[in-house]
Amino acid sequence: MISPIHIISIGLGTAFALGFLNKKSNGLAVSLMLVAIALMAAVSSSWFIKLYQGAEAIEVYTAGFKPPYSINLRMGLNEALLSSLINLAGFLGGLYMFKNLKNTGKHAIMVFLVFVMGLNVIILTRDAFNLFVFMEVVSIATAGLIILIQDGKSIQAGFKYMIATGIIAGIFLLGIIFAYYFSGSLNIDDISNSNLLAFKGGSVAVLMIIVSVVLELKPFPANGWALDVYEASDPGIAALISAASATAMYFVLFKLMPIADLQWYKIISTAGLITFVGSNLFGLKQTGARRLLGYSSIGQLGLLMTILGLKPFLGDKFEYIAITILISHYLAKAGLFWIAGLLKKDKLKDWALLRKKPLFLVLFGTFVFSLIGFPPFPSFFGKWELIMSLSQQGLYFTLAMILTGSFLEGIYLFRWLGYAIKMESNESWTFKLEWNKVIPPVLFGILVYLAGYYSSTFAENFNGLYFIALAFILIIYLLDFLPAAVKNILSILSLALVSWYMLPGLYSEDMLRFIFTLIFLVGGILTFIAGFAYKGKREGFYPVALLMYAGLAIIIRASTTLEFFFGWELMTAGSYFLIIRGKKSMAHGLSYMLFSMAGAYAILAAFGLSFAETASIQLSSLAAVGGNITVIFSLLAIGFMTKTASLGLHIWLPGAHAEAESDVSPMVSAILLKAGVFGLMILMIAMGNNPEATRVAYVLGWLGALTALVGNLAAAFQEDAKRLLAYSSISQLGYILFALAMMSHLGWMTAMVYSINHFLYKSILFLTIGAVVLKVGTHYMYKMGGLIKNMPLAFIAVLIGIIALAGVPPLSGFAGKWLFYNAVIDKHWYFQGVIVFFSGIIAFLYLFKLIYSVFLGQLKDNLRHVKDISIWFAIPIYILIIGLMIFSAKPDLVLKPLGEMISVWYPNAGLSWEGGLATAPYGYWNGTGVMITIGIMFMALLGWLLLLSSKAVKVGQFNIVYSAEAPQRPETTHVSYNIYAGYNKALGWMVAPKITEFWDTMSDWAHSLAEYGRRLYSGNGQVYTTYVLAYIIAFYLIMIF
């Protein structure tokens, strides 16, 4: 093995030797530099491999004397890993900047090389003063690299950087020299053994050392200079500062923390937390990509600092958490800066250009998701462990703040991602992509996935098989160049395979999961069939759709909370991309994502609390929770309700579902929302027996009832067909929530029947309306009309769908209503029940409006030649109708097994069966009998009418009494426009967009706060020095009190 000291010899030697080269051989100089960095990387990575295999850490003494007499370097596992990372980033960064470096000349190349070498020494050295020297080396090299582009801004930024770090370095030196005076040694280990904190002067020395390293980590608010650096320097340099320098500085703090005590750890974690939240809050108002990334980098460093501060609490989990989050940040942030450099656009809104190159869009998405901590990226596992440990230690405030910060970060990152995916852009990609600028981000993109897989292998009880699904999705992504039909077949086959693998086992073991698997996967297959109607490639659709289904399948399979959360987040990610594919979905995709993230964090926190109590992450252990049950139950319920779009958390849904593509709407409405239902059921099965949970459930019941009411009322006032159906989904999920919250046999029966029914009829309706929309080219109902003659297939489907939805006998919707009545009376929830019932009747208003405006009334001229819906839509629609009919005619086929299943949890007050006649505690119902009776009667009456009026003459469209004036607004002449105006006058106040206003206000406040707060960064470098000093004073004050 080559001694680690030769990292210095190689680096410095090459840097000095570059001086011999003349001006013409700048290319050679860059190449030599890359070779040198590669050699350094080889040294550090070979040590990493050796140490990873179990070798002992080694110490290198300079001049042959033992420390503290000489300077020693240590190469342990952590050091080897981090220096490998730094050298890798250095190499790729150098490659990325090949041209810039070459053009600037050998001096810049030397600076770059020394920069990377200096970072290595910072990692390795164990001597405080040596640390200071090399921190200065790096700091000066950074000051040099910042001005590589030599524009006015970068010079200003560099100068601010210099004055700020100048003061910081001075304080650091002062601390070190006093530490030497008090402890008699400059070796870090000796200093930490000498108990400096025992007396005042020593404490101040420790303070100075720690606080200046903290300041190097750019804590909020003493970090204005750092933001300017990120913004102004070349993105390639910013990538290195963010990825490599930050990694090294973080390690320095880690190395120096032993000189301090527990109190200091707490201070550090608080400082980190303030940075994390504050920085991400201010990030909200940013419009420039690089400055935004700066805020995000600082935020991430704050998180890492918090984690370091929590080290005494995290125990042996610390390294795993810190390294996973560090690596995610390292890979993602470098990647993002590199992409920023490629694009050469700083305005966030201009990033729409990126989607001209799908590869980079995918990379961009990957990095954003890995920063936020989505699976399968390392930070997901890190954050998971962090939250688990925090709640185990009872550090709830920290936990809440970390989640808040992450959420804020999510807001701006996803907004940005949304811009890239959806923002209007007319520009074309004019500049050439150089291979040396492409390789680094691509490589980091691949690495972040690999790192994710690797991190998962450390997680307890985590089934690595889930990565097979992800690998399959990757393959589909790689096959994206194929025509849509091929990918469609592959997708259907894959879902069929998974169903075939999962369903038989579940049927005998777990009816609940069986039913949801049917809804998720078979529903998935049916909606995929509709995909055949699309021509072309449908780029990017299949991977994300499969991602959602993979998430759903994992939720079903999950046996631990970690797996469940893994699946939940995958599903969220997949559905986010599905939703944002819609035409005007940019804002809707964002609000969906934000609600989902908030919900996911609520779930995460709840899982953490339950882990703290039961010390187990098995899903079944939720049942053992006792103490914090109200909080855990509420958090989980809120989390799941973001998916079921309950009142207050529903504002994302209408737009998201309405704007989605025709076959995506049923996926996200009929199928995706059921994930929330499944979650609620799992939750209530586990915790429902507790009286405290019952109290929360009572609230949920009211919430469900109000959701149902408001959803239906709002639906009645819509003019957009898909939006109408979306509001209808909200209210249907409100019914389900209400029924679940009853936590009785009949209540759950109702919920299950509603779930199945809603899946059936909402799929039918969304597929049909979607198909119609594809044909007529508008969502607005007042632009349609009279389509019954052109589209009989669609009409019949919608007719059946609305009869079922309305709950009119004899179709299956009535089963839900009947059960519902019995359940409500049985549970004594009369008033809630009446509200739900009332909203059920309101459903007639919008159902009539839907079918009337689209299919009945006058046919519009421009639609005179529209054909019926695509056969590929008709096939799944009619399969679903057959399912609906079977359910209607023989409800006992479904209800009996459901009853058996539910009686496991709620044995009392079920249905009793006599043939087809079901008897509930209050009423009775024979679905088959009703069907037959009504069928015979209907046929008889039809026969009678046929007999009497067989000679009816068919008349033309306009053979009616009609008089009209010239319209001001053409849509108002359509009779269905604002058809329920009177109703609106009477009851419209109930659906005034109070809730949307509420969330808008919240968002405004956050943004105003950010706008106001970020004025702290006045741009004056001198002021920043006062912040730095004030920060130190603040630390001192905290220390002495």
Partner: protein, 118 residues
């Protein structure tokens, strides 16, 4: 004696900081940094002083055998040497920056360089 030099060192440090934080002229700020550094160096050297000690160079006055009792601590002296050089490097670079900044806006007022903010 050493208390005096230490206190003076601290005073010089604070004076340097005052200069950095109140002078809007960039050159004066850089001078402030030099003062700040000087203060640091005085502090370092003060810490090295041993009562009655002499320079840690062995000559006729201090024999190799009695070095331990007669010299002052050589370590901070070595450190201050390094620190001085570092300070020199930083000052030189700052001056280069000052030249460039002046070239850009024909001004040395730190308030003129606030293009990056918020």
């Amino acid at each position: 004696m050493e208390y005096v030099s230490l206190t003076i060192g601290f005073i010089v440090i604070i004076a340097g900081l005052w200069a950095i934080m109140t002078n809007r002229n960039i050159l004066r700020m850089i001078i402030g940094f030099s003062i700040f550094d000087t203060g640091l160096h005085i502090v370092i050297v003060s810490l090295a002083y041993v009562k009655g000690g002499t320079a840690p160079i062995l000559d006729s006055a201090v024999g190799i055998n009695e070095a331990i009792d007669k010299i002052v601590d050589p370590v901070p002296q070595a450190l201050v040497l390094t620190a001085i050089v570092i300070g020199l490097g930083v000052t030189a670079l700052m001056l280069a920056y000052a030249m460039k900044l002046h070239k850009e806006k024909k001004s040395l007022d730190i308030m003129s360089f606030r293009d990056l903010k918020w």
